[in-house]
């Protein structure tokens, strides 16, 4: 399973209450009947963090990419609003990445 702290979007020092509130807000945003896969991911992450011992297990026995994610956000820090434009080449590269990913998603191709 991916880092449950990142999945729920909570800090490693979050307590039971904060984690529960965050989980419930995500479930409200993405209810299981509309987003079953997302709900399962949130549920699994919540199960892994729902009490102190489980959080310790996650922290001690696993490795997490939350810090890397925060570094990435730092590097992408919105120093300016999104007002400039990207080049056609970059957009084309994004579309090619997207086509490649979409062609390999359904388990057939």
């Amino acid at each position: 399973m991916s880092d449950p702290f990142s999945t729920l979007g909570v800090g490693e020092d979050a307590d039971d209450d904060q984690i529960k509130q965050r989980y419930l807000s995500l479930v409200r945003l993405f209810p299981p009947d509309r987003e079953p896969e997302r709900f399962q991911a949130y549920r699994a992450a919540y199960e892994a963090l729902s009490d102190q011992r489980k959080r310790l297990e996650t922290k001690v026995l696993g490795t997490r990419d939350a810090a890397l994610g925060r570094i990435k956000s730092h590097l992408l820090a919105p120093s300016k609003p999104v007002c400039a434009r990207a080049s056609k080449t970059t957009v084309t590269a994004l579309l090619i990445d997207g086509i490649d990913r979409a062609c390999g998603q359904d388990g057939t191709a």
């Binding site: 001690v60 434009r85 080049s87 979409a102």
Partner: protein, 813 residues
């Protein structure tokens, strides 16, 4: 031809498309009917799907080409276009995809994805779409949307203001395949004024869309926090980072750092740590340090580099990292060693969380010890050692307590089991699972009052806990049975009254009711007794099943003759009433599989003979191998080997190659005694083991091995089969080759099969000569018969018949 078609259909059903293609090609060659061609195309499409799933897009494309019809369209258009795109042939992919616009040749399930893929392909490599197309046709409308999309994108890239882009966007219909592009561009022009609305617009683009990468890049660049955390752990691609840098106008240095970060991330943990340590000053210190600590288990050789940048690691952190690295390298001894160092480092701390952490580590190592024998621990059982350690550090972890109790029980450490169960019951008085363990422990050490106390506490917490009610009822019935056997029916009655207190009115116990009836009979209250007995029988399933259950209870209790006579008569009547069903026979068999009943097999076995006729009728039912095991076990337990032989014989007529039935046939022949197996039978069973293992039927293989291993003096296990095979018929040069003791044993076993009374009957019925042939035939099926030449066996048969004839003539004289 029909056979070819059937084989092809079966191959298709099994997903063996390669075989199906071969068969259908032959079929089409013989008779080129459209339906065979159709099936062949289906087979090619199936083959293409399986090839694409393995990443063999080139081969998948070739397979799909075989399904092409005159206009160039293929069976699985989406898959075909995906294969071309995966191979980088984006232009060709578009040229093919465009053929389907305005047709109904794409299955509805994949139509939307096909449309978006076509749109994205066109944006990447725009080509002129058929200009002759009628503007009102679907292709014509598509071409108009495509043109609007291209113009909108160009306007945005050129930096035109929002009010100029808006009208272009509005020319892209929301139902068209270019809708994702409209949403993205709208989001980008909305972002400077309303980032929340911009983010909301992006939600309209699916995760499987070819526009999803672009959508993610826009989302990452938008200011403010996403409502949804990123669930996808995939790092942003180079294009995504570049896009973020371009739209935000990041300075060249920042963009450079981001590009380096993305490159390092793609190169692996070691490169990423090099990046983090070399740019530590430009990055947030805490995050960089934390990121390095989390990367170190994947590249422990960078430990020194990280320590020189961020300072020395604490003893716990260092040991934890090395333990995780050792686990990743499957070095379990080192993992154990390092986890112990980490646990000891935390145990020393007075901080409660550190002690919990030590508990986590010890439980983890205990779990590892179950699957990795390299983990040795310090005592006899590493799992027990580490679970004990975990409870010293964290005594309140209930799953660990339950697990340790279970381990003490299975390892036979009864003293520790009882101590821990008792302590846990005191420590966790509100935990049913712990209290149930305490009940079991108290019952095992015959502390009956304690067991009752724990059981009452469980029921106070959980009034419908059927497990504890059943356990207490069984316990008190068992006490009552002992009292009844000592002719103290009054005390037995009292025990059963106590047992009744555990019963739930909506879930009456058949066994309790039957026992009450039987004890009431002993107390002389025949009318009440019979009523209870009949109710108990009904609860137990009625008919043969119910009366058999009552008879079993009677036998275990050593009940009186009067009640025994009633039971016998009722059992006979029930057998006559209706033919047996599989369910009824299985109910009888499962009732006999109870552990206590198995122990009392001597008392119970004669009861099986009372329902012998009924069971014999059941032999002709179509039993499956899985169903029959409890029945055969019951017959084995009762020593009813002739019935077992009938069951096996009739089943082998239905399924001649079934290993289970062959085992039971052999088992019946040797009367359940593996020591009586002939060499040929042993060979047959060992062949069955090998066959079962070859087809991975380990249940059957283990069952046969357990039977073979029940020979006390023989080496155990499948590996030693050849060792146990002993002197084989092939290997015997003469009788002298065999030990005298061995021959005596074989003779004793063989002659037991043909006792003098039988020989006498044969002589009387068939006469001397035919009796000799009959005895010879019987002896040939015995271990001796399989070992010795037929002449020798004939001499033994003659001697046996002669001795009987001699006796007979003497008695006549």
């Amino acid at each position: 031809m029909c056979s070819l078609a059937a084989k092809a259909s079966e191959a298709m059903r099994l997903g063996d498309f390669k075989e199906a293609i071969e068969l259908l090609k032959r079929l089409v060659k013989q008779d080129p009917l459209p339906r065979w061609r159709d099936m062949l195309a289906d087979a090619y499409a199936g083959r293409a799907r399986s090839l694409a799933a393995k990443g063999m897009f080139d081969e998948a494309e070739t397979a799909l080409n075989k399904t092409a019809v005159a206009d160039g369209t293929v069976r699985e258009p989406l898959l075909y276009v995906q294969c071309l795109a995966k191979r980088g042939q984006l232009g060709k992919a578009f040229q093919h995809a465009v053929k389907y616009i305005g047709t109904d040749k794409v299955p509805a399930a994949s139509a939307a994805r096909m449309a978006e893929l076509t749109a994205a392909l066109w944006l990447v490599a725009p080509v002129r779409v058929d200009a002759q197309a009628d503007p009102s046709s679907e292709l014509g409308q598509w071409a108009q949307s495509a043109a609007a999309a291209q113009q909108s994108l160009a306007a945005w890239v050129e930096g035109k203001p929002a009010h100029e882009i808006e009208p272009l966007l509005s020319r892209i219909p929301m139902r068209s395949a270019f809708r994702p592009l409209r949403l993205i561009l709208k989001s980008l022009i909305t972002a400077p004024t309303d980032p929340a609305r911009a983010r909301q617009l992006l939600d309209g683009i699916g995760r499987q869309s070819p526009f999803a990468c672009w959508r993610e890049a826009v989302a990452a660049a938008l200011p403010g926090e996403a409502q949804e955390p990123p669930t996808n752990a995939t790092p942003p691609s180079r294009a995504q980072c570049l896009f973020a840098a371009e739209v935000k106008g990041l300075p060249a240095g920042g963009s450079q750092l981001l590009a380096e970060f993305v490159k390092a991330e793609r190169s692996g943990a070691a490169a990423l740590m090099t990046f983090l340590t070399s740019h530590a000053a430009a990055l947030p210190a805490t995050e960089a340090k934390s990121a390095c600590f989390n990367l170190l288990p994947r590249a422990p050789d960078r430990l020194r580099q990280v320590e020189s940048t961020f300072g020395s690691l604490a003893e716990f952190d260092r040991a934890r990292i090395l333990a995780l690295a050792a686990e990743a390298a499957n070095d379990w001894e080192r993992a154990e060693e390092q986890w112990c160092v980490a646990a000891k480092a935390t145990e020393r701390s007075a901080d409660p969380e550190s002690r919990l952490m030590a508990g986590v580590i010890y439980r983890h190592v205990a779990g590892l010890a179950e699957t990795h024998p390299e983990i040795a621990g310090e005592g006899t059982s590493p799992s027990i050692d580490y679970l004990e350690g975990s409870l010293r550090a964290d005594p309140d972890h209930i799953p660990a307590v339950l697990k340790l109790i279970g381990l003490y029980r299975t390892e036979g450490q009864d003293k520790d089991w009882h101590r821990l169960a008792e302590d846990a019951a005191q420590r966790f008085p509100q935990q049913s699972a712990i209290l149930l363990q305490a009940v079991d422990s108290a019952i095992a050490r015959k502390a009956y009052k304690k067991a009752v106390g724990f059981a009452r506490r469980i029921l106070a917490l959980d009034p419908i806990n059927q497990a504890v009610r059943q356990r207490m009822i069984e316990l008190q019935i068992s006490h009552a049975r002992r009292q009844a056997r000592s002719k103290r029916a009054d005390l037995a009655w009292k025990e059963l009254a106590n047992a009744a207190e555990w019963e739930r009115p909506d879930a009456p116990s058949a066994r309790l009711c039957v026992n009450q009836g039987l004890v009431a009979w002993e107390l002389g209250n025949a009318a009440d007794a019979e009523a209870r007995l009949r109710r108990g029988v009904e609860l137990a399933g009625g008919g043969v099943v119910g009366w058999f259950c009552a008879s079993v209870e009677h036998a275990r209790m050593k009940g009186g003759a009067a009640s025994g006579a009633v039971l016998r008569a009722e059992l006979v009547r029930a057998q006559k009433a209706v033919a047996p069903s599989k369910e009824e026979i299985l109910s009888v068999a499962l009732g006999m599989s109870d552990g206590e009943i198995t122990e009392a097999s001597k008392e119970i076995a004669p009861l099986v003979f009372r329902i012998r006729g009924w069971l014999l009728q059941g032999a002709s039912l179509a039993w499956s191998a899985a169903e029959i095991h409890p029945v055969c076990e019951m017959l084995r337990l009762a020593g009813a080997y002739d019935l077992l032989a009938d069951y096996a014989r009739l089943a082998l007529l239905r399924t001649p190659d079934d290993a289970t039935w062959k085992l039971y046939r052999v088992m019946a022949r040797v009367k359940g005694d593996a020591e009586r197996l002939s060499v040929r039978e042993e060979d047959e069973l060992m062949d069955l083991v090998e066959d079962a293992e070859a087809r991975q039927d380990f249940h059957t293989a283990n069952r046969i091995e357990r039977f073979l291993d029940s020979v006390p003096d023989f080496p155990k296990g499948a590996a030693s089969h050849s060792a146990r095979r002993g002197p084989s018929a092939k290997g015997i040069g003469s009788v002298d080759d065999i030990e005298e003791g061995f021959i005596s044993q074989l003779l004793a076993v063989s002659l037991e099969e043909t006792p003098p009374e039988m020989v006498e009957r044969l002589v009387a019925k068939l006469g001397r000569e035919r009796a000799i042939s009959a005895v010879l035939e019987r002896l040939r099926r015995t271990p001796v018969g399989e070992l010795f030449p037929v002449e020798n066996i004939r001499r033994v048969a003659e001697e046996m018949v002669n001795s009987i004839c001699g006796k007979t003539s003497k008695s006549v004289a």
